[in-house]
């Protein structure tokens, strides 16, 4: 029976019968909002060249569209009206339609985030395929003008960063699993969370459609002063990223508050699961740095529209670059911290062995978080003063110490374990291999004399694809296979899982190892055409990249098949100890009939180790309580 998760004690109104499905109504209201505000802007600030749509109008209209979209998707009934004293309506709690509506259940929201991330991974991945097709020949083939290609590069990077890399494991898996893992029935701010997820498709569409306003060539970083004179599509790059980062910011606030205040009885900091630690550190990074990049983007936007001359020759041409990387480097740790955390989650379960040096693993996550704000200018060694080179190379190299703690914990756990070589195990080991290459090539880039050659070549592109695909995407896949029985009560085929993992691993390395060689050979970034001598290597890199794309498709198809039609499994197929496995699969709307009480460590194995969880007898009231 439909039960709303509201606490106000009011009798919930039955779910309203909407005249339109919420997504369609959202589109309609967004269109109305856009037209109204764009028209107002065109009336107040007419342009001699464009009577209907101006740069200012495009921005005003966009804000109108955001308001219309969020109200139409459900914000009107679920947030605005209750604020005025109307009772909160119920939300749908069963059927596929609940994923296309406003939701309050963190698991539905988590899957909405995961779906949005996966869909965007597909879109941005197709763009990558098109880019690799272009680079098979030293002369332009698919994109005839460089701006077409450079715009594709920018959209690929922006979508991958802000919708996949920083969202899939945080908004997606974090929303779904953190409340389950810490033993609570809901997140702290379910209403805000239910709305925030709908900013993702909006942001993706904004970025993907941005070329309609004029092509932009800056890539995902939007470097000034080029941005100021570049196509007006950059305005929608700023706006789209603004929507996506706002969404991530709400996730961060919600999950931080949930972890701080909603842990079940006995869930002390020393018992908090590693994945929750990962999400906590990431969320703190998000809370610190996302407002910073949003401010920077607003400055960039104003600089472009006014213009304010903030970042050009009359202002500070490097100002934007410093502000961008001040966020931009913590961003890559936002991407990778959940991945490092998931390693320590999966390996003890699969190895049937206690997590080695757990405090060090947690400290590693925390110190990476703290240090990540001190390394940013290593993206700018070719721009900066000589006096800045030594301190930034120092901090950059030092951050490998806490990053190494993730390896320390996993290696210590692997030693003398009884490792079950399942698909998730395999993917974690592959992720460790790939991220190792990403880290070791980072040594070369952190070294300033070598960086002066390697900067802005394909060596750098190879390096960060090794950390992001190799580290985060492989770990994301590991987590998807690991938690598949939890999502659906079904499991995957071990053969096809391993087949897909090995396929992706081989194709990934064949693609991106070549990037290092290409970079050393003088292949620079952001080029749709290049000197002829680089063609043979680029050709084979592209062939490998197509195999990589196909490999991801194989895994997605397999996971979807297993989710829907895979063989049913028992509720805790891995015999894991963390709390998400202490409820049925898929979990009921309220997660737990009675809230579990934690009495020991989830990561201690061995004969005679008592169960770390006590399930109170049903009927006794166990409210969420902090310890």
């Amino acid at each position: 029976m439909a039960q709303p998760l509201t606490k106000d004690g009011m009798t919930p109104k039955p779910r309203p019968v909407a005249p339109l499905p919420p997504v369609l109504r959202g589109f309609l209201w967004a269109a109305i909002g856009f037209i109204v505000l764009a028209a107002m802007a065109a009336w107040l600030d007419p342009s001699p060249v464009s009577p209907y749509l101006t740069a200012v109008g495009a921005i005003a209209g966009w804000f109108g569209a955001v308001i219309g979209w969020l109200l139409g998707i459900g914000g009107y009934e679920h947030i605005v009206k209750p604020m005025m004293g109307f009772p909160s309506p119920a939300v749908r709690t069963s059927g596929w339609r609940r994923y296309y509506e406003y939701a309050l259940d963190h698991k539905v929201i988590g899957l909405q985030y995961l779906g949005a991330s996966t869909g965007t991974f597909f879109i941005a991945g197709l763009i990558a395929m098109a880019m690799r097709f272009q680079l098979m020949n030293y002369r332009p083939t698919l994109f005839h003008y460089p701006q077409d290609y450079l715009n594709a590069v920018g959209i690929h990077g922006t979508l991958m960063m802000f919708t996949v890399a920083t969202v899939a494991m945080v908004g997606g898996l974090g929303n779904y699993f953190v409340p389950l893992m810490i033993g609570t029935r809901e997140t702290m701010f379910p209403k805000a969370s239910g709305l925030s997820v709908w900013l993702v498709p909006l942001g993706v569409l904004t970025v993907a459609m941005s070329p309609l306003l004029g092509q932009w060539t800056t890539g995902w970083r939007g470097y000034e002063p080029l941005a100021a004179s570049d196509g007006n599509g950059l305005l929608y790059y700023y706006m789209g990223v603004f929507a996506l980062t706002t969404s991530s910011l709400i996730v961060a606030i919600n999950l931080t508050a949930t972890i701080l205040f909603k842990r079940t009885k006995g869930m002390t900091w020393n018992r908090l699961p590693l994945f929750a630690w990962g999400i906590l550190t990431v969320s703190l990074l998000n809370i610190i740095w996302l407002p910073e990049i949003q401010t920077t983007f607003i400055l960039g936007m104003l600089d472009k529209v006014m213009p304010l001359n903030l970042f050009n020759v009359f202002g500070q041409p490097l100002g934007y670059e410093y502000l961008f990387w001040l966020f931009g480097h913590p961003e890559v740790y936002i991407v990778v911290l959940p991945a490092l955390a998931i390693w320590s989650e999966i390996i003890p379960v699969m190895g049937r062995k206690s997590l080695f040096a757990r405090p060090i693993a947690v400290l590693g996550l925390v110190f990476v978080m703290l240090l990540s704000g001190m390394v940013w200018a290593h993206h700018m060694f070719t721009m900066m003063r000589y006096s800045e080179m030594l301190p930034f190379s120092f901090f950059t190299e030092m951050i490998s110490i806490p990053t190494g703690f993730a390896y320390l914990a996993v290696i210590g756990t692997l030693w003398n374990s009884r490792l079950r070589l399942t698909t998730p195990t395999l993917l974690v080991l592959m992720s460790m291999f790939n991220f190792l290459i990403g880290g070791l090539t980072g040594l070369f880039l952190a070294d300033v004399p070598a960086n002066l050659q390697l900067h802005n070549t394909f060596f750098v592109v190879g390096h960060f694809h090794y950390t992001i695909i190799g580290g985060m995407v492989f770990s994301w896949m590991a987590a998807m296979y690991y938690w598949l029985p939890k999502f659906s009560g079904r499991t995957y085929s071990e053969f096809w899982g391993k087949f897909g993992a090995i396929w992706v691993f081989v194709a990934f390395n064949a693609t991106f190892l070549n990037f290092f060689i290409l970079g050393l050979h003088g292949m620079n970034r952001w080029v749709s055409a290049y000197p002829k001598y680089l063609q043979p290597e680029n050709f084979w890199t592209s062939i490998a990249a197509f195999f990589l794309g196909a490999g991801f498709a194989i895994n997605v198809i397999h996971i979807v098949w297993a989710w829907v039609k895979g063989p049913k499994v028992r509720e805790n197929p891995w015999d894991a100890k963390t709390l998400e496995w202490r409820t049925s699969s898929p979990p009921p709307t309220k997660n737990f009939d009675t809230l579990p009480v934690v009495v020991g460590s989830f990561y201690t194995y061995g004969d005679g180790v008592p169960d770390p969880v006590e399930m109170p007898v049903a009927g006794i009231d166990t409210k969420d309580s902090r310890v």
Partner: protein
């Protein structure tokens, strides 16, 4: 204990073999340029030494982790027929291992920061002192959307062009060259909007420096090899910072020639205007 000895032996042997392979790769070209290529200038030599040293540092780390992954997959693997049971050993901490790990990672990081990073930077900084670059050839480099313009004030060459009218850079070998780098458009000097960041990069020289609007940056460089774009496509001036649609095509040919050839070329260019 058996696993530990076995792992140790495999690690040492594997690292030695890998180091041997890496050294062969590094030495497969002069100046240790096997994997690196960009060694045709004094700064490129600093870069390649750093690169090669880091390869040697990275190899044992790489072998350690990869071997550990393989070891876990082979030696510590649970047989499929086995019943799922907890591992017999449940060591949750090992102060010696953790302490050694942390100590080594701190020392290794300090090492590579001091050498090759700080030591290499010292050479880079020294190479940029005017006193260490006597009698340089001055080349004024102007980066605009989208062209490299080279002028030689000492030789009264306002824009160095080849026979087809393309910008071209000539340098004498083994003599310091002082590049004076600016980003502005001399043909549209009223349009500050087109002044963007470019990257002055010659791949064969192993060095690049970004050109920032409103700033004049100086790069001292000494070429140590007779090369040209025709003989080695890495010997080219290439913009390395995305600067708009023309970025992929923002390149110019380079010729490193002998002193007498350079003098003859400069005379002919100056006569051209």
């Amino acid at each position: 204990m058996g696993s530990l000895v076995m792992f140790g032996v495999l690690w040492v042997v594997g690292s030695l073999l890998a180091e041997w392979g890496a050294t062969a790769w590094i030495d497969s070209a002069p100046n240790g340029a096997g994997p690196y290529f960009g060694t045709a200038s004094n700064l490129g030599i600093v870069g390649v030494h750093a690169f090669d040293f880091l390869v040697w540092v990275a190899v044992p780390i790489f072998v350690f982790v990869v071997l550990m992954i393989l070891f876990a997959m082979v030696k510590f693997r649970a047989r499929r027929s086995e019943k799922v049971a907890d591992a017999p050993s449940q060591v949750r901490n090992n102060k010696v291992f953790v302490g050694t790990w942390i100590l080594i990672s701190i020392l290794l990081n300090l090492l590579i920061w001091l050498h090759p990073n700080a030591s290499g930077l010292e050479q880079v900084f020294a190479a940029q002192l005017p006193a260490n670059n006597p009698k340089p050839v001055v080349v004024d480099v102007t980066a605009r959307q989208w062209e490299w313009i080279f002028s030689y004030p000492q030789y009264h060459i306002t824009q160095s062009l080849n026979a087809s009218g393309q910008d071209t850079l000539y340098m004498p070998v083994n003599r310091p060259v002082k590049f004076v780098l600016r980003s502005y458009d001399p043909f549209h000097s009223y349009a500050h909007q087109v002044d963007v960041i470019h990257g002055f990069w010659i791949p064969a020289f192993g060095v690049k420096l970004d050109v920032i609007p409103g700033e004049t940056r100086i790069l001292y460089l000494t070429a140590n090899k007779l090369i040209s774009t025709e003989s080695n496509p890495m010997a080219r001036v290439q913009c390395s910072e995305v600067c708009g649609p023309g970025h992929p095509y923002m390149e110019a040919n380079l010729h490193v020639v002998t002193g007498s050839q350079f003098a003859a070329w400069a005379k002919a260019q100056a006569a051209h205007g």
